[in-house]
Symmetry: C2
Subunit: 339 residues, 2 copies
Amino acid sequence: MIKIIVDTLGGDNSPYADIDGALSALNAIGDAHITLVGNEEEITAYLNGKEYDKERLAVLDGKDVIGCNDKPTVAIREKKESSLYKSFELLKNGEDYNALVSTGSTGAILAGAVLKIGRIRGIKRPAFCPILPTMTGGIVSICDSGANVDCDATNLEQFAMMGNLFLQTAYNKENPKIALLNVGTEEEKGDLLRKEVFPLLKNNPELNFVGNMEARDLLSGDYDLIVCDGFSGNVLLKATEGACISLLTQLKGVFKKNLKTKLGALVIKKDLYKLKDYMDYNNYGGAVLLGTAKTIVKGHGSSKALSVFHCIKQAYNMEKNGIRDKISERVAPITNGEN
Amino acid sequence: MIKIIVDTLGGDNSPYADIDGALSALNAIGDAHITLVGNEEEITAYLNGKEYDKERLAVLDGKDVIGCNDKPTVAIREKKESSLYKSFELLKNGEDYNALVSTGSTGAILAGAVLKIGRIRGIKRPAFCPILPTMTGGIVSICDSGANVDCDATNLEQFAMMGNLFLQTAYNKENPKIALLNVGTEEEKGDLLRKEVFPLLKNNPELNFVGNMEARDLLSGDYDLIVCDGFSGNVLLKATEGACISLLTQLKGVFKKNLKTKLGALVIKKDLYKLKDYMDYNNYGGAVLLGTAKTIVKGHGSSKALSVFHCIKQAYNMEKNGIRDKISERVAPITNGEN
């Protein structure tokens, strides 16, 4: 049995998206156990009459919300009635609890992960690893996308190895194609950090390292995992999202311009929706946090039930396939003697 | 008279796009003098019968091309019959020559700028500053977009001040809104470099610094100039371009799917072309190199005549409004005592 805690507060569509996502996961995955954390009365009332295996669902009360105006490190220590505080306490103290899924504050989740759960021994820094849809119908992940803004070469090598294990365990990818985010594709390109990291990745026998990647090729489908420091990874992720959103907004403007364009849009509406759907990263799960002593998945703030379902499935697959043991055995030794 | 050298080799549409762009500029700007560098016979044959002020146009022979397979620092020293070598020699030795425009190899242009032209005294590192169209019909520039992958805080403060003067001189923007590229908007966000740069920008009396910007807001129209190190600036620029190109390609796929979607696309074709045109950064000039002892503008490799025209206009405006003297007087003193 894989036991997963689902925080039902803090997302834009909480608590119903979180609860519905959890119920879908419960029905789809026979050996998953889920604990919903949030406003117990509200959750219980919503569950009333729904079809699910009651043996595999628990509810824990924690009514308070950690919002984006709370200071993460303070809130995760002091807001003791918050759903996220309670979730982390349960994850930390309940030995057989495997994972936590939350669509709440990224900062608070990161703070809770570091302060309450801690790293896998030998992992210098945990890293966020989100998933994006590519233009060829697949996925691409970025590690780190923002947990660590100042990184050294060992950090990046560990990010590469953890991301590699993530794609193997959560997505069954056998030999993920791994690239280093850089300003050009030639081997000698880049800043001091990239020049130090390149040979580490190239010579690592566990990695299928295919070389440097320029940011414009993120969605090409040629790569499965992009390795970067959290600063440039965050720029890569947000610039890509921002450009897609900006362009789709402009396009919407074109379609709504007049009766003629509205009619034109109507004809291709179905296919456009498919494109929009396909571009919607909510359909691909959340950003997993790799390297922590328990599995943690951060769903997008605007997650709907389907997205929460995918987040739970990511957490389940990672745990089912023993990602933490693998990280501990294969990645942690790569620490240049430090910890 | 502003004397501008136009390299007519090395771009995808060279030499005709370069020559046509130069002729448009010559006709539009009464006190511009242009020297075309490239295959003299080819240029002369193409000019034959065209309408322009012959007093203000010169041709210099330099038939060889520096391509993307040449090693920039070697090629710019040894390919002595190349158009770019000849252009840099003329710019360096011809005292009354103000500026160089080229759509050739970025690496070779940067190498020529550093090795042959040199920096303005007091400027630690020259920086690339390209222009992108925003979603509100304006422009936004990024400085540095890739000339310097390893930067310190003084570099970034100088980039901010040079970019500020660029927008004032080339685009007549009175009080450009300047933001620091970061992983969040709060003042305390970022890596060590950003934390050091933030107060420098905030306390600089010449800058209208509006705070941190996340990469997703690049095209929002809320900012005129984004300040960053060349590594993350390159990621910002290329991720944005890449996402726009990927999405437009997907969209094209939707439109071409079947007869129905083709008809739908036909109806809105004109408006879509407008959007595509509007997104085409070729319509906005090139990436200017700021901080060098003469003005240098790098046009996009795929530049058409209109783009070359805009590049020449950028160079002209910068020189007409004395950007180099302003950088020398106002930016160069900000060097923390070093040079």
